[in-house]
């Protein structure tokens, strides 16, 4: 591949480099959050659950309207976006990162890029399915949305949000321990068996 040939450049490396530049001011915070979410110490998972539970108890007590809640959340995001790059060097010190820290930051940004590509990929595949098999697309999306709406009706709104947020925050740690991989692997094997059985029946 020739240099200067934009089409053949490593797109993944370019996207990762762009994301690293974008998150430069958040580096220390991202590394600290990564250590917590990957359960570097055994008390991190209960600490995560404790903080999330306390936060949701406060929200339950205050009982804000949807608009107030969403606005407050966005205010917090804006404040963090402004203050974190300014305060992080003072809190964490302006130490030069070790090779390990730089490597870990690079891995995190690379994983974020890969996840983003996966989400965009599934979005595009969904639209291709809509064009190729509109009936199947319609039935699947309606069924899934109906099930989600039913679940939303059975479980209290705030409690459901609490469960989803807790699961998402525990997911990186569960993934590192191989628990997610184990059960996803089991699920894939079962689906593969079902598909093979279906093919045999069709034959």
């Amino acid at each position: 591949m020739e240099e200067g040939d934009n089409k053949s450049s490593n797109q993944l490396a370019v996207e990762t480099a762009n994301l690293e530049e974008h998150f430069q001011g958040w580096g220390e915070v991202i590394l600290a959050a990564d250590r917590i979410l990957r359960w570097e110490k055994t008390w991190f998972p209960p600490a995560i659950m404790g903080v999330v539970s306390l936060l949701f108890l406060i929200i339950y007590y205050l009982d804000p309207s949807v608009l107030s809640g969403v606005s407050s959340f966005v205010i917090c995001l804006c404040l963090a976006d402004y203050l974190v790059p300014m305060l992080a060097p003072k809190i964490f010190g302006s130490k030069i990162w070790t090779t390990e820290q730089q490597q870990r930051f690079h891995e995190i940004c690379s994983n974020l890029v890969k996840t983003r590509r996966r989400v965009i990929g599934w979005w595009k595949r969904l639209f291709v399915l809509k064009e190729e098999k509109p009936k199947m697309y319609f039935m699947s999306t309606i069924s899934i949305l109906a099930v989600v709406a039913w679940i939303g009706q059975q479980v209290h709104n705030l409690f459901l949000t609490y469960l989803i947020v807790s699961f998402l925050l525990l997911l990186p740690g569960l993934n590192k321990r191989g628990i997610i991989t184990k059960y996803v692997g089991m699920g894939k094997r079962e689906i593969s068996k079902l598909l093979k059985q279906k093919e045999k029946k069709n034959e």
Binding site: D5, S8, N10, Q11, R117, R118, G121, L129, K196
Partner: protein, 139 residues
Amino acid sequence: MKPLITTSPVSLKAEGEWNADHDALISYSVAKDFPSSTWDWIGLYRVGFRHTNDYVTYAWVKDDEISFSEDCNQVYINADEIPLDGGEFLLCYHCHNLQCLAGISEPFQICPGRMLAEKKEAQEIPESFKPKDLMGFES
């Protein structure tokens, strides 16, 4: 009877040394007017596989694309998905529009991961998470 297709429309190649310590690279090229789709994927199979769904892992051709050009495209497979114990494998390109394997690579070796022990250790349950009885022994 004459075959409709005499040469594979897709040619695949595993690039470099493969092991579970780093992401792996696949190069492939497609024939002109090949009906590719976002639903196309390249599967990693053990030699001797019997069914299209018997893949060890796979990579979406569009999602996991690293580079593309007129002659050759490249796709990566995550290090975490490569079998730790290694062995003899091959790559197959599954075409969604043709509903078949449109290309098969030559068999190649995947070396056992150097960080095999480290990964196994990372997947073990930490001491403090193991259930213990009242005397503090693991149950």
